[in-house]
Symmetry: C2
Subunit: 289 residues, 2 copies
Amino acid sequence: MPTLFRKIKEVKNFIRGLRASAGNSFSVGFVPTMGYLHEGHMELIKKSKLQNDLTVVSIYVNPLQFGPEEDYERYPRDLERDLAMCGEAGVDVVFAPTDEEMYPETPKVKIEVEGISNVLEGVFRPGHFSGVALVVLKLFNIIQPDRAYFGEKDFQQLKLIQRLVKDLSYPVEIVPVPTVRDKDGLALSSRNTYLKEYERESALSIYRSFLIAQKLFRAGNTSANTLKEAIKEYISKHPHVRKIDYVEIVDEDFNIKEGEVSEGDRILVAVWIGNTRLIDNWRLSYEEV
Amino acid sequence: MPTLFRKIKEVKNFIRGLRASAGNSFSVGFVPTMGYLHEGHMELIKKSKLQNDLTVVSIYVNPLQFGPEEDYERYPRDLERDLAMCGEAGVDVVFAPTDEEMYPETPKVKIEVEGISNVLEGVFRPGHFSGVALVVLKLFNIIQPDRAYFGEKDFQQLKLIQRLVKDLSYPVEIVPVPTVRDKDGLALSSRNTYLKEYERESALSIYRSFLIAQKLFRAGNTSANTLKEAIKEYISKHPHVRKIDYVEIVDEDFNIKEGEVSEGDRILVAVWIGNTRLIDNWRLSYEEV
């Protein structure tokens, strides 16, 4: 089983101690999570284990990144199960702090990244990315990893973190890991547990709409609008689709594309299936799918 | 003479190398400056040398913390002189990057601290503290010091940094160092070089107004308004005082005091003497001055 830490000071001292005794080439990989782990997280852990001497997983449902109307209270939690999964995966250290430990006072720091914090997810979840930025930088400062692993599933979050690390010269390498999907194509997410059995088929429309867009793109349709409309039309004809928050296409620098799209651009989608808000994204390419 | 570095990678690798070979108890002290060093900086350096094995001074006039109408262009610079002073003081490493090295692209990150970034200096210098926060965190990430030294002269900046370090769990100890004053009481500042000979007497009114406030306080006058008015009245009757931006009193948590003040509260002042904007501050105490 991994060593479990609840206190900032203890996990910090433990990792520092290992570093000091292990010498210069010792490397620490870090996987920040909100727990309720699934195969997507396991991919991050696998990659960290391949690349580092020590793998640290944090499990913390960060209240700062939830809006007042959001699912903070009902977000699924199961530390026992998470620890068992971490043990199975060979994780060395789990850091699972309490709120009191992370935020003895309400933080006063707000961190924004222009062109990322305030678009798409940032519009529908005001304050979300400031909460994400704060907790991730704080965890970086506690764990002081050499590499940190983020899923492409939360693509805008990945871009946010990459930009923070670049602008602030954080001494950590950000390693993106491709989205893991169920056999039917649904992107893995802890929030999938909210879905009712009969809603799943509708949730699958997101993935399937990406395949449609990709086919259109391969057939020469490079208008952003054509692709976005095809996606919206396909998704919205499914039952239980309560609302499409957005369908957008961004380039590698996270600029929203208006005219022609090209290979490497990414479709980003947020859809409400019943009471469950799902996000997903897809990299446009000429490959057959 | 100190070892001079111009490149982020080189200074980082140099310090890391020293750490790795020196072992666990090796400590690094860091003094961030905008150069044009004076005795105030020397106090920071002295303290760092007392407390650490290695002392690093950065010299960088950070464009991000200057407003478009401010004195970025005319801010005094003299690297040769600074290096000589650092050599004299026994500084081990000087890091003096170019703008191109620090900001190969314009940073997109904005960092605010509620209740600090947006009051007093923050009102008169919009964006200033976001620029300060960004450059200081970036320098922390490059140097990775155990301790960093900040003058109380820039009191609001000190409070900003302390709060950033607390909220983000930065692994660095912030060491405040009392303001150094000339024999006549003028707080040392690189910007004092802007003062014309005949303006100095008026600039001294700031320090002298603090002594008046302190005397009033010791005599039992604890009304914030009484003290602030006495300061404003005294300063404004001097020639060359073009404008008083603010006179305020804050408590240790940087809350602005409206009613009664108490020992430990701090008077903060910003005054234009001719074309020179000076800031200074004073801790209220029962001590005789």
